[in-house]
């Protein structure tokens, strides 16, 4: 079956939602550092360049090995904490940037501001990563927006989601949970979309539960790492917006204005 390329219309306007349910907006570049990637050097260079991100922590990979000896408790053989980079946070902890050997990411936590502010800061930090890590190629770009819509008590999922899950025909049972993870391709473009819809249960009796609509637009494939890539990010943003506005009922969208 052939798929016609879709047209990405960057002049299309999307309504600004002053109460958008965004809990995290992320830009990620996966690229292998080709500069020296040593803990002391990288830490010093980044701390000098990020005075407005005063909180930082070492990022490590934890690896554990166990041997099953047949004598009861597994024997731990090794416990490695491999240093992979640093994570920096603003003083209010609302912005997080990760600088790893193989990855750069920038997250804005709620309250989200707007795309221009978000992407301007992301690209500023990305340029710092380019100076320190000196990758020559990007292997993957991700633009991910996690939306969380609170609700209490019993609801009908079809009152929120356009493609709500349906119970089997003739088996009228309520949902206790669901997880839809769709991966969509974008014909004519090197993009894909991971679309996750699920419910995050309430933590306590007084807390709401949440419908989560998690939209992760990605581009896989090598690109030169020396440009801002604003054109690609704008296209990915358009796809993200189309996925968001196409996932929720208009009445739900209206509640975010």
């Amino acid at each position: 079956m052939a798929f016609s390329p879709i047209t990405i219309n960057l002049s299309e306007r999307f309504d600004h939602l002053s109460k958008a349910p965004i809990v995290e907006a992320i830009v990620e570049f996966r690229a292998r550092a080709e500069g020296e990637w040593q803990r002391e050097t990288v830490g010093r260079e980044l701390r000098e360049r990020l005075p407005d991100y005063p909180q930082f922590q070492e990022e490590t990979k934890v690896e554990q090995q166990f041997a099953l000896t047949g004598e009861g408790v597994p024997q731990q053989l090794a416990h490695d904490r491999l240093w992979i980079g640093l994570a920096f946070r603003t003083g209010d902890r609302l912005q997080v940037s990760k600088f790893h050997r193989d990855l750069f990411s920038f997250s804005r936590l709620a309250p989200y501001t707007d795309w221009t502010q978000f992407i301007t800061e992301a690209l500023r930090l990305w340029r710092i990563h380019l100076e320190v890590a000196r990758p020559s190629e990007i292997q993957r770009i991700g633009v991910r927006f996690i939306n969380r819509i609170p609700f209490s008590g019993e609801i009908r999922l079809e009152d929120y989601l356009i493609a709500a899950p349906k119970e089997p025909v003739d088996l009228n049972l309520p949902f206790a949970g669901f997880l839809h993870h769709d991966t969509l391709i974008v014909p004519g473009h090197p993009y894909g979309i991971n679309l996750v819809r699920t419910i995050q249960p309430a933590v306590g009796a007084q807390s709401p539960a949440f419908i989560i609509v998690d939209i992760d637009v990605f581009r896989s494939g090598a690109l030169a790492a020396d440009e801002s890539r604003l054109d690609i990010l704008s296209e990915m943003r358009w796809l993200k917006n189309k996925a968001f506005f196409g996932s929720l009922l208009p009445s739900v969208i209206d509640s975010f204005r």
């Binding site: 995290e24 990620e28 997250s107 991700g142 090197p190 699920t198 995050q200």
Partner: protein, 164 residues
């Protein structure tokens, strides 16, 4: 609903943009549990399980220096870990390779159709993928970093190898 399940160049089930929020961690945990649930079924999880077992067996056989009698280096522990992650990142539709070791301490995966149609991909301690493919008189080789998903250059070669 339209499907395009044969278009494997863009799609991978492994890589998700990382997040820092509690919601991102919740989703990552949920999708990982869902993946594990599917892989527990014999029908869907057999390939991954088989590859992990083969990797373990290879690592044990090649754990000492000179395992081949010609001075080969033992498999490096980081190469083993990277190979494990590569197995996790292989799309479910990927044909099953065989697992082996390189004399330089890397782990290798081979897709073999005939002596003149084969692909070999090795992964080393630095998570670099060195690949070489033979398609009759054509050959392709190169190096790509492994950043959590199988590079499209390699998945494309695997798809080409198994094209009917």
């Amino acid at each position: 609903m339209k499907t395009a399940l044969t278009l494997s160049a863009v799609v991978t089930t492994a890589a998700i943009t990382c997040g820092a929020s509690d919601s991102a961690n919740f989703i990552a945990d949920l999708t990982q549990k869902s993946r594990e649930h599917i892989q527990r079924a014999e029908t869907f999880g057999n390939q991954s399980q088989q590859l992990r077992q083969e990797l373990c067996a290879t690592a044990e056989e090649c754990a000492v220096a000179n395992w081949d009698g010609y001075g080969a280096l033992p498999i490096e522990i980081e190469a083993y870990r990277n190979a494990y992650r590569l197995i996790e990142a292989l799309p479910a539709t990927t044909p099953t390779p065989t697992v082996g070791a390189e004399p330089d301490g890397a782990v290798t995966f081979e897709w073999y159709v005939t002596p003149h149609r084969t692909i070999s991909v090795s992964i080393d301690a630095n998570a670099l993928l060195n690949y070489a493919a033979l398609f009759g008189v054509s050959s392709v080789f190169g190096t790509e970093p492994f950043l959590g998903e199988l590079p499209s250059q390699i998945s494309g070669l695997i798809a080409r190898l198994h094209m009917k």
